[in-house]
């Protein structure tokens, strides 16, 4: 008879109650398993209890887990963290301007409020592109990328935008590289601009908050009029041109109940590559508008409804806290190699900390462009400190099954909500949605198995 001493746990394992199931999850082995309490007890005792003899059924279970590498396999490999090596980013995000043609009721950056908006100096933007292009050449990356983002609407600074797309492409061509330009936009722009973006850049994320009336409520123009009809025209042009774009919706207390309908609406009328529905964090202009995010339990319920609607259409709906099929040790560029040059020439790791007067900017703004020397002055020690915030270094997250799904979540959100930087702010949401995804994997595979000729249900 086999003995427990013949087996050892070789994976980081979590036992997760999901709906009516008990799920064993080994993220770093890529294993999800439906188990019962006896299997959980078996594995727990195998890991930490005194030695015992195994019966035939226990041995059989362990044989399958051995085949999956969860038992008697190699140790888990570690995810990459970003504290090692020379700072050599190959992606730069450029904040072109703080001017904006919309006045979204929740805008974290209060885009458009500045009566004297600025546009990023050409020299600073080009220096940022030069830096990442040179890194790509030196590292043999083959390509570099340029993102165009806030703090206002980047396409409002149209001349600068087109100059920089052209500059990036020329720079790449000169170095034998490929440049990829991506834009985060509200989609409110002249028709010819939309067509130019679709034919001159690689991808975009378009902010769209759903059904037209709700979109107009949440994303009015500076004039106070709705912006949906402009957005719709842009999306139609993108679709005509076969342009790859994602739709990103901010979910508030107003549109949370329509999330599933939003999936149908976007899928029926447009052709976005991706959909992402993120709950609003109370910040920025919310203080004046009073716009609030949804209650957590409502968001979870409606997200799941939207997710299942999307699955029936062979789509997914993303949620920024939940990278399920991709392993993740850090949440975002703010705790990695974030290199963002703002419209005022500052360098920041976090998009929300776009200027020294922004909340918690002292943690994230780590440099500035010096126009005299044409160079960036960077405090890389500050960046290195941020890079230590990852799934391996957050004690709060150490025993959470979702630790490689959210990797600690957004540090800025956690700071704003008073949690400190050592944990995430949306754990309840992440865990609830994560459990649903785990259960979905099991359910879908059980269904697929049952549908096979001679298929068998699990014991």
């Amino acid at each position: 008879m086999a003995h427990s001493a013949d087996y050892r746990i070789s994976a980081e394992l979590f036992v997760v109650p999901c709906e009516d199931m008990l799920i064993l999850y080994a993220p770093l082995k890529g294993v999800v398993a439906r188990i019962n309490a006896a299997t959980a007890g078996l594995l727990r005792d195998l890991q930490s209890g005194p030695a015992f003899e195994l019966n035939e059924a226990q041995e059989d279970v362990l044989r399958h887990l051995t085949a999956a590498g969860v038992v008697n396999g190699p140790p888990d490999r570690r995810l990459r963290v970003h504290a090692e090596g020379e700072f050599s980013p190959v992606h730069v995000t450029l904040f072109l301007t703080d001017a904006c043609n919309l006045r979204c009721v929740y805008c974290y950056a209060r885009g458009g409020d500045n009566p004297r908006p600025s546009v990023i100096p050409l020299s600073a933007a080009e220096a940022g592109i030069d830096f990442v292009a040179e890194n790509a050449r030196r590292n043999g990356a083959g390509s570099f990328s340029v993102g165009f983002h806030g703090a206002g609407e980047p396409t409002v600074a149209w001349k600068r935008y087109t100059e920089l797309v052209g500059y990036a492409n020329r720079k790449a061509e000169g170095l034998g590289l490929r440049a990829s330009c991506a834009t985060c936009t509200n989609g409110v722009m002249p028709e010819e601009h939309a067509r130019w973006i679709a034919t001159h850049t690689a991808t975009a994320t378009v902010s769209a908050d759903g059904l037209p009336a709700l979109h107009d409520l949440q994303r009015p123009k500076a004039s106070g009029r709705g912006s949906f009809s402009d957005l719709e025209r842009t999306l139609r042009i993108f679709d005509e041109e076969g342009f790859f774009y994602a739709i990103r919706a901010t979910i508030t207390e107003h549109n949370v109940h329509t999330m599933a309908e939003m999936v149908e609406f976007f899928d029926d009328h447009f052709h976005p590559g991706d959909l992402q529905f993120d709950p609003l964090i109370f910040t920025g202009r919310c203080h004046e508008s009073g716009c609030r995010g949804p209650a957590e339990e409502v968001y979870v319920r409606e997200y799941i409804r939207a997710y299942e609607t999307a699955r029936r259409r062979n789509r997914l709906v993303g949620f920024s806290c939940l990278s399920f099929t991709a392993l993740k040790s850090f949440y975002c560029c703010a705790v990695s190699d974030g290199f963002t040059v703002t419209h005022d020439g500052y360098v920041t790791a976090c998009f929300e900390a776009s200027a020294p007067d922004r909340p918690f900017a002292d943690l994230f703004v780590y440099g500035r462009f010096d126009p005299e020397r044409g160079q960036f002055d960077l405090d890389l020690k500050k960046l290195r400190r941020l890079q230590t915030r990852n799934a391996y270094n957050l004690p709060y997250c150490s025993d959470c099954f979702a630790k490689y799904m959210c990797a600690g979540d957004c540090p800025m959100h956690a700071l704003k909500l008073g949690y400190g930087i050592e944990r995430g702010a949306r754990c309840t949401l992440t865990q609830a949605v994560g459990k649903h995804r785990l259960a979905t994997v099991v359910r879908e595979n059980e269904a697929a198995l049952a549908a096979r000729p001679g298929g068998s249900k699990h014991e």
Binding site: V31, A38, H64, L65, R77, S145, T183, L275, K328, C333
Partner: protein, 129 residues
């Protein structure tokens, strides 16, 4: 802050191993690359336990849709002509039931091909956008 978060670890698992016959329905769920344009390939994310195997360059090729989809051999996520993945799709899934081993393909399911999430501006790099 030294607060401890939720405990889903094995040491906290409830259950008596002898109380009933142990059951297992196991899904080998490949960890796959989303179509996020900044997403490094899986092999570039993973280091060996001793820290070796780290490539010098972290970022994968950037870009949006590609006409040279390589997932046609196994992918059932989306029609190949619309697939926007930049790498080999591994959306097939090997399932093992207790006592029976089969191989199945999941119909789509969370990444690898065009209908993933977060593949616009930010994706993996800036998931909020």
């Amino acid at each position: 802050m030294n607060e401890q978060g939720p405990d889903y670890s094995l040491k906290n698992a409830a259950g008596e191993r002898e109380a009933e016959k142990p059951a297992l329905f196991l899904v080998k769920y490949f960890q796959i690359q989303e179509a996020d344009y900044m997403k490094p390939p899986l092999e570039e994310q993973l280091l060996e336990p001793d820290g070796s195997g780290a490539p010098a360059v972290r970022m994968a090729a950037a870009g949006g849709p590609t006409s040279a989809c390589t997932c046609n051999s196994v992918c059932v996520c989306v029609p190949v002509s619309t697939c926007a993945c930049n790498t080999v799709c591994t959306c097939n899934t090997v399932s093992t039931t207790y006592g029976v081993t089969v191989v199945t393909k999941r119909p789509s399911g969370g990444g690898g091909c065009g209908h993933t999430s977060g593949g616009g501006f930010g994706g993996y790099w800036a998931p909020c956008f």
